[in-house]
């Protein structure tokens, strides 16, 4: 018995020592690759593989509205990745998107604020968040990092969902996109891996009175229809935020843009659950998991949605 304990301990120590930074993400990496495989298999030929992947979709939907043969990077634009129906509008509006002036205002905000310039000397960082802060032992989202900076400079913290926050983030996202950077989320410790796992569990656990998990709609449900909505994929979900929504910006362009946290809260509400606060541990860990799933994909923000 004692020998066994010694052995186990030795093995454990050995394992711990031999784990370099690259290996704490082993599980996450496995999950990410499995997700890519799943999405690519699902959209290889939706009509042919309907019984496996699209049991509820109509012939018309499968024949006329869903693109086939999608590969990894194709999944960066939400349901427009495969849904032909909305793609025309999307492409047309992207020709001159309403958020261009918001990006400029974000740049202005940055240029006027010494503290922000000091905290974020490099603005091409949209793909590096969230990250796990090894000293604070917690996940830091772009939103929480900006607010930490704002508060440290003596200002009152910004609204985490709308207003200056997404306006500034539009600038960061746009600069990151122009620099052609990719999502680059790191997991470099056991604590970080645990935070990732909690985020993953949140994502895949059914919640709310509708008993849906995030995955019900955005993994298994991707490409299927809920009323008139074609459901978007988890893969690539975080690559293009902040997002300008036509319905939010109907009256005032600047109200059209909002953070990932706002979108998440809206979606969790649609599940029938009271959503976690934007700066809560739950939300940040959830975003950490989601962003990891998009690792290696192009940052492509801001973007537009209906």
């Amino acid at each position: 018995m004692l020998l066994k304990i010694v052995k186990t301990t030795a093995l454990f120590t050995l394992t711990t020592c031999s784990l370099n930074a690259g290996e704490f993400n082993a599980q996450a990496e496995k999950d990410r690759l499995a997700l890519i495989d799943y999405m690519e298999a699902k959209f290889e030929d939706p009509l042919k593989n309907r019984y496996t992947f699209f049991p509820y979709s109509t012939d018309d939907e499968l024949e006329n509205n869903i693109e086939k043969g999608l590969t990894h990077e194709d999944f960066g634009i939400g349901n427009y990745s495969f849904s032909k129906q909305g793609k025309f509008s999307y492409d047309q509006i992207k020709e001159m998107p309403p958020y261009e002036e918001i990006v400029e205002s974000g740049e202005e905000l940055y240029n006027e604020n010494k503290a922000l310039q000091k905290c974020f000397p490099d603005v091409t960082i949209a793909g590096d968040y969230p990250y796990f802060d090894e000293e604070r032992k917690e996940v830091i989202s772009l939103t929480s990092a900006i607010n930490d900076c704002i508060v440290a400079s003596g200002e009152k913290k910004w609204n985490e969902k709308k207003g200056k926050m997404p306006i500034l983030q539009s600038y960061f996202a746009s600069a990151t996109t122009e620099a052609e950077k990719k999502v680059d989320i790191k997991i470099t410790s056991a604590e970080a891996a645990a935070a990732y796992e909690r985020g993953k569990e949140y994502y895949y656990t059914q919640r709310g009175y509708l008993k849906l998990s995030c995955a019900t709609c955005h993994v298994q449900g991707t490409g299927q229809r809920v009323r008139n909505e074609s459901l978007s994929p988890l893969l690539g979900h975080t690559t293009h935020f902040p997002v300008f929504r036509l319905k939010w910006g109907k009256d005032d362009v600047y109200k059209g843009i909002a953070t990932l946290e706002r979108r998440m809260a809206g979606c969790v509400k649609d599940q029938g659950q009271n959503p976690p606060k934007a700066s809560s541990k739950e939300m940040k860990e959830l975003l950490y998991f989601m962003a990891y799933m998009s690792n290696g994909m192009n940052v492509d923000g801001p973007d537009i949605r209906k």
Binding site: E95, M96, P98, E100, E101, K250, V253
Partner: protein, 102 residues
């Protein structure tokens, strides 16, 4: 009324210039104005010129979207020249903005 600058992008490729323009305007239709308890006002006419020659012209209604976007194409060697875009609204406000064709 203070008007806002139109966003203009113009690019020539093989003798064809493509212009993309977003004018900043509320485009309040009669119905929308009634709901918002404001006066209706919308762009009624748009024209674009290069060297004083009309290259685009449209008479418009209240049903163009808010901050209306228009895109059009025209022929000619225009690289480096200035595209001049003007709109006029129902109340007679007028705005002209210019942008060099790339």
């Amino acid at each position: 009324m203070a008007t806002k600058k139109s966003r203009i992008k113009a690019k020539e490729k093989k003798g064809v210039t493509t212009a993309k323009i977003m004018a900043k305007h509320e485009m309040l239709s009669y119905d929308e104005a009634k709901r918002a308890k404001k006066e209706a006002n919308f762009i009624t006419y748009m024209v674009a010129k290069v060297d004083g020659v009309v290259v685009y012209e449209s008479s418009t209604s209240q049903f163009l979207s808010k901050n209306p976007f228009v895109s059009f194409k025209f022929k000619g060697e225009n690289k480096g020249k200035e595209l001049e875009f003007t709109w006029i609204d129902l109340k007679g406000n007028k705005r002209t903005d210019k942008k060099k064709i790339k």
